[in-house]
């Protein structure tokens, strides 16, 4: 008996002589294509082997560039069969068997058998690769050195263009069979048969069934029955053949029926069909996707979700439904919550069965329609399912005004690279079909380089001071090569700037995450810039890799101007007379002496010199600021606004210890409505403007009242300035 120590030493010595490269390592370059886990693997038809020659394979034109994760249709989507001579083979460090095959004229090409451990479990190539690897191992022992063979072979594999890198035996165009799925040594001309499936992939729902046709074809005098079996099924899925075998001489078909239980494992699986007859065995693969059962249902969406219209005009939103889970019914549509004087209509009035489609919802406002913003509820009902969606509808007063589109050259249709009055960065104006226009011929194509780059598009306009509505709309298309679903690597900022280029507001920021097929219309309210000269600016910023294109077209800045008079009812709106008791304001305080009107730098005003600094003592205090006004009965609109700054020493993020109520009272002091309540929880840096509609108080004498209450500790300051009540008549 041999000494155990000696055996141990022998083992150690053997292990130490194994090259490190023999330890499992997988390749990198085009590895997904080489092993069948690429984006285009479903295009490979594994059930139609095509005979070819090395000469024909070397005649393919090599693509340039060679895509990293996609296939070249034809050479790389076909299962090729080549009869040739195996001359050389070697085990490479990426665990491939590198086989050089040669034809009678001495032309060579490479065929490679990857290690099954380097092939993704979901690859449809995996059963074939495993098969080919076993066939090769049964004949040869590959090592890290080249060995000669000189043996006839029939190699079956999928085409793949490799990068030319001085590989031994490489075809001039880099074409390989990679991966090899079958290799037969010393192939004869004897009888044989083939097996195929149609379709090669199918879908199965939990609790459902699906069928496939398995066909066998004998050749070379093959004469035997062929038995059929299937493996690789997920839990809960069974399969049966009808008939269970193909009768001699072995050419025929059988229906393969898959049945999934209600709890079958979901996912995508490779079912391997094995056909055996006449001492020969062949396999084919059916990709089975099991999905969860879903109840019939549909989704409802509105685009845009906010619509602004002027009295006497109309506006629309697109209402779309998408069915799922076998839903099959027409879907009726209705709208509720409309302001007085506004009607809604759908075209078509319902979505026809099976229930997916789009209807245009049109709002039409009469000349006297109630102004303001209302939430309109869209109700869709089909079968037993009902869903709702909301559209924010804003109706603004016409004031007998006119509507004007302010932007020049809104679709870039003069085709100029310097499309005045737009100011654009170089190369932005585009008419190529790569990024087609929304309307007309031209668009503005920002970025899309895949390297660090910034493009801009800007136009300067002046919004009239008497504008009653100002809406910016444009159409945007985003496409990207980024694959992330979480990180905004490339962005498009939509900005409003003053005429000096200082950013006044960023209306929105879009990114690679917003990519979508086709254009989407975007809409923004610019009324707050009335009376200003502004720049509408789009800045597209792309990082160092993977392109994102932002394509803009068909802009509009529709402005409605009023011919009616607007009157400010509030006297001394910014407390700028500096008086301690600044009439017509009436101020009270439980703190003595009365000290609300302020011009200290501790609480600076929103504008001018003075403001009303309520509370801020850190002891129990009540302050009020009130002014009485009469809203004329002829007023068609009444808008109350003020600027408020809140700072506090309170640290709570949940409790309103100190409050400021904004009230409307009648002339007797009775509270008619509390417009809003602010507290220490609303603290912020700087001022915020708050606006309220007082149209419901037309014809009344009212008191606008601010009531501030502070508790016994930790001060909160409410600072008011530039209070306004504008009425339109």
């Amino acid at each position: 008996m041999r000494s155990p120590r000696r055996i141990w030493l022998l083992l150690v010595a053997t292990v130490l002589t194994i090259p490190s490269s023999l330890l499992a390592q997988c390749g990198v370059e085009r590895w997904s294509v080489k092993t069948g886990t690429d984006a285009d693997v479903s295009k490979v038809n594994l059930n139609a082997p095509t005979n070819t020659t090395i000469t024909a394979m070397r005649a393919f034109t090599a693509p340039s560039p060679i895509p990293a994760n996609n296939r070249i249709t034809g050479p790389e989507t076909t299962l090729w069969v080549i009869n040739a001579t195996l001359t050389l083979f070697k085990l490479e460090s990426d665990s491939d068997y590198h086989l050089v095959i040669q034809d009678a004229s001495g032309n060579t090409m490479i065929t490679e058998i990857p290690s099954p451990s380097c092939v993704g479990a979901g690859s449809p190539f995996l059963p074939g690769i495993t098969n080919a690897r076993a066939e090769f191992n049964a004949r040869f022992s590959a090592t890290t050195s080249f060995q000669t063979a000189n043996i006839p072979v029939k190699v079956t594999g999928v085409g793949m263009f490799d990068f030319l890198h001085g590989q031994t035996g490489v075809a001039p165009n880099g074409i390989e069979l990679h991966a090899v799925l079958d290799i037969v040594f010393n192939p004869g001309t004897g009888s044989d048969f083939s097996v195929s499936a149609a379709p090669t992939s199918l879908s199965l729902t939990q609790g459902g069934t699906a069928s496939d046709t398995i066909s066998t074809t004998g050749s070379g005098g093959f004469n035997s029955s062929v038995s059929l079996s299937v493996t690789g099924l997920p839990a809960g899925v069974t399969a049966s053949f009808s008939p269970t075998s193909i009768a001699a001489p072995g050419t025929g078909s059988s229906t393969l029926k898959f049945t999934a239980s209600s709890t079958a494992t979901t996912g995508t699986f490779n079912a391997t069909v094995t056909a055996t007859g006449g001492g020969l065995t062949h396999t084919t693969t059916v990709v089975v996707t099991v999905s969860a059962a879903t109840a019939p249902n549909f989704t409802l969406a509105a685009s845009p979700t906010s619509v602004s219209i002027v009295q006497g005009t109309s506006g629309s939103s697109s209402i779309s439904t998408t069915v799922s889970g076998g839903f099959n019914s027409s879907v009726s549509l209705s709208a509720s919550g409309l302001p007085a004087g506004v009607t809604a209509s759908f075209s078509p009035t319902s979505i026809a069965a099976p229930g997916s489609g789009t209807s245009t919802l049109t709002f039409t406002a009469s000349a006297t329609a109630t102004t303001g913003t209302a939430t309109v509820t869209i109700t869709a009902t089909g079968g037993t399912v009902t869903h709702t969606a909301s559209v924010a509808l804003t109706v603004t007063a016409t004031g007998g005004g006119t509507s004007t589109q302010l932007l020049g050259n809104p679709g870039f249709e003069n085709g100029s690279t310097a499309p005045s009055p737009w100011v654009v960065s170089t190369g932005v104006i585009n008419n190529s079909t790569s990024e087609p226009a929304h309307g007309g011929t031209w668009d503005a194509w920002l970025d899309g380089f895949g390297s660090a780059h910034t493009d801009t598009v800007m136009q300067q306009v002046t919004i009239p001071a008497n504008a009653t509505a100002a809406t910016l709309t444009f159409w945007l298309h985003v496409d990207t090569a980024e694959t992330t679903t979480t990180t905004a690597f490339d962005t498009l900022a939509v900005q409003v700037r003053n005429s000096a280029g200082t950013v006044l507001s960023t209306l929105a920021t879009f990114s690679n995450l917003n990519h979508a097929t086709g254009y989407q219309q975007k809409s923004f309210n610019l009324l707050s810039f009335a009376g200003q000269t502004i720049q509408i600016n789009f800045a597209g910023t792309e990082d160092a890799s993977l392109q994102t294109s932002f394509v803009l077209d068909d802009f509009a800045l529709n402005v409605t101007t009023s011919t009616t008079a607007t009157t400010e009812l509030i006297g001394n709106p910014g407390f700028e007379n500096g008086a301690t008791t600044p009439a017509p304001w009436v101020l009270t305080s439980t703190h003595t002496p009365l000290s609300i009107i302020n011009n200290s730098a501790t609480e600076p005003p929103h504008a001018g010199t003075f403001d009303a600094w309520m509370l801020g003592w850190g002891v129990a205090t009540t302050d009020t600021v009130m002014q009485q006004v009469t809203i004329p009965a002829t007023a068609t609109a009444a808008s109350f606004s003020f600027w408020l700054h809140v700072d506090t020493a309170e640290t709570s993020t949940t409790t309103a210890f100190d409050t400021l109520q904004v009230q409307i009272r009648n002339s007797s002091g009775t509270v008619l409505q509390t417009l809003g309540t602010f507290s220490n929880l609303d603290h912020n840096t700087g001022y915020l403007q708050h606006t309220f509609n007082l149209a419901s108080f037309v014809g009344q004498t009212i008191q606008v009242m601010f009531v501030g209450q502070e508790d016994s500790s930790l001060k909160t300051s409410f600072v008011l300035d530039d209070i306004s009540l504008k009425v339109t008549q």
């Binding site: 022998l10 490190s20 490269s21 460090s93 491939d96 160092a544």
Partner: protein
């Protein structure tokens, strides 16, 4: 004593088998100073003995018209303060390149650009020997995560391995058969040219190997033109 003789004999036998495979005529490319890499392509090496230049002549393949070094210091060993000082000399190897290499580059109108950003990855690599596939996978990860800039036609990533991290290429060993090498790989970001420089205790030898591999990358980026 008998045991020692037995084990020694085993090692010698095993070693002779490995050597026989490695000298097989098909296991090395015909071009001097080339080896087969980990997936069967050819890669140009800088011999461990820098005095061995080999016979080289230009066969008309493409060259990089401009070459910019982007340094990657890979491995926890670079975190050791006694070695960090060496990084300064390595981040601009074109600047200190020997006149012979500069003349070669000039002869073929290759301009070297100011070296670009340096990236340090001192993370635990979980293995002490990196082969070329490990290097390619690391480059792919760094590019996908945008940790290093996307390459341009000028970019040459120069990967300096830390002390304690060794390198193999197609079964060949750093320090024994090569002092550095260059190769290329095609990833989603495009064709990537890179140089791998294993650590060497002698700073002069270390820098010289890097400079030679960098120059050969510029002159022979795809291994077709200069051998």
């Amino acid at each position: 004593m008998k045991k020692f003789v037995f084990v020694t004999l085993l090692f010698c036998m095993a070693g002779s088998v490995v050597m026989a495979q490695q000298v097989a005529s098909l296991d090395l490319p015909a071009e001097p100073n080339f080896v087969f890499d980990d997936d069967g392509g050819k890669a140009q090496i800088v011999p461990a003995d820098l005095s061995v230049t080999g016979q080289k002549s230009f066969h008309g393949g493409p060259v990089l018209s401009t070459a910019r070094q982007v340094s990657i210091f890979l491995g926890a060993g670079w975190g050791d303060q006694q070695f960090r000082g060496r990084e300064t000399a390595l981040v601009d190897i074109a600047g200190g390149m020997p006149a012979t290499h500069r003349a070669e580059l000039q002869q073929h109108n290759v301009r070297t650009l100011k070296s670009a950003l340096m990236h340090e990855d001192f993370s635990d690599l979980s293995k002490s020997t990196l082969n070329d596939l490990d290097i390619q996978r690391k480059l792919s990860d760094l590019l996908q995560s945008k940790t290093i800039p996307a390459p341009t036609a000028s970019t040459v990533f120069v990967i300096f391995l830390a002390p304690g991290t060794s390198s193999t290429l197609g079964g060949h060993n750093a320090g024994v058969e090569y002092a550095a090498y260059h190769n290329f790989v095609n990833l989603e970001a495009g064709e990537i040219h890179y140089v791998v420089v294993p650590f060497h205790n002698d700073a002069t030898h270390h820098t010289a190997a890097a400079a030679r591999a960098f120059a050969e990358t510029a002159l022979n980026p795809n291994g077709q033109g200069w051998f």
